[in-house]
């Protein structure tokens, strides 16, 4: 297992909330895909049924943090400063996937964009933009 994958799996295993969501992630080279299998307890609207919007936001925030764990070892876990979630389609009773793009890593702040989809990446269910406060290992 690569060092990046070791850091990723350690990040995922450390957080009880990640297990609560049932989220996992796979790394192919430097490209990570996060996976949120459908589960009944994640449903927000039972009539559709659709995954709760807050859960989608949480999943994408954890995807962004997972992607930051792939990049490097941090002295302290990056802290979320702010986030914006955009909802495009209901996330139905099936697995949701997400990929994060780290737009910038500065000395103190990282900017990360995440897109989540189900059937097709070109038809996203939601997107996230967020900033994280960083504590680099060498600081």
């Amino acid at each position: 297992m690569s060092e990046a994958n070791t850091r990723l799996q350690a990040f995922l295993e450390r957080a009880p909330y990640v297990r609560y969501l049932g989220m996992r992630a796979e790394l192919a080279g430097d490209e990570m895909t996060a996976i949120l299998p459908f589960a009944d307890h994640l449903v927000g609207n039972p009539t559709i049924p659709a995954v709760h919007g807050g859960v989608l936001g949480a999943f994408m925030e954890m995807t962004a943090l997972a992607q930051l764990s792939v990049i490097q070892q941090w002295k302290r876990a990056p802290k979320t400063i702010d986030l914006t979630v955009e909802y495009m389609r209901p996330a139905r009773a099936q697995a949701t996937f997400a990929r994060a793009e780290v737009r910038r890593v500065g000395r103190r702040v990282a900017n990360v964009h995440v897109v989540a989809w189900q059937d097709a990446r070109a038809a996203p269910v939601a997107a996230l933009r967020c900033h994280f406060l960083l504590a680099p290992e060498e600081a």
Binding site: Y17, G53, V55, G57, K79
Partner: protein
């Protein structure tokens, strides 16, 4: 005169609260008023992000805020269903370890299609919030009571 398109029963907050995810998080009703709702997210080990600190995950707070903001839209519009279009959250600080979190929201403006909501989350003192939220919701056509 009753219109067949309007449900006769009053807006049922209990029913709106009862989604599988809100039940799973254990969200509890705190208070509600015109266009306003507050809910409690009880702390539990499973929702923690860092086992060393015992601080509840930001993601659980995000869900609390999304949920309470959506309910405030229902309160503003006679039980109208809505879906989140856009939710912005600023995280001022982490919640205290092992602390419950209260989420409150106010739907301050509602138009024919769109509702605008402000909310915040705090653990002990409403004037010292963990997070503030700004949400925009799309009303589901024909769902108002």
């Amino acid at each position: 005169m009753n219109s067949p398109s309007l449900p006769s029963e009053p807006f049922d907050l209990e029913r709106m609260l009862a989604s599988p995810q809100s039940a799973s998080l254990g969200l509890q009703f705190v208070t509600a008023g015109p266009a306003k709702v507050a809910l409690r997210l009880p702390w539990r080990e499973e929702l923690v992000v860092d086992p060393d600190t015992g601080v509840i995950a930001g993601g659980a707070v995000t869900t609390l805020l999304d949920h309470v903001c959506g309910l405030s839209v229902g309160m503003a519009q006679g039980g109208a269903s809505s879906s989140t279009l856009d939710l912005r959250i600023d995280y001022m600080r982490a919640a205290a370890p092992r602390a419950d979190v209260i989420g409150e929201a106010h739907c301050y403006r509602i138009t024919h299609n769109i509702a605008f909501v402000r909310g915040q989350a705090y653990d002990a003192d409403p004037s010292d919030p963990i997070a503030t939220a700004q949400g925009v919701f799309v009303l589901v056509a024909g769902s108002a009571a």
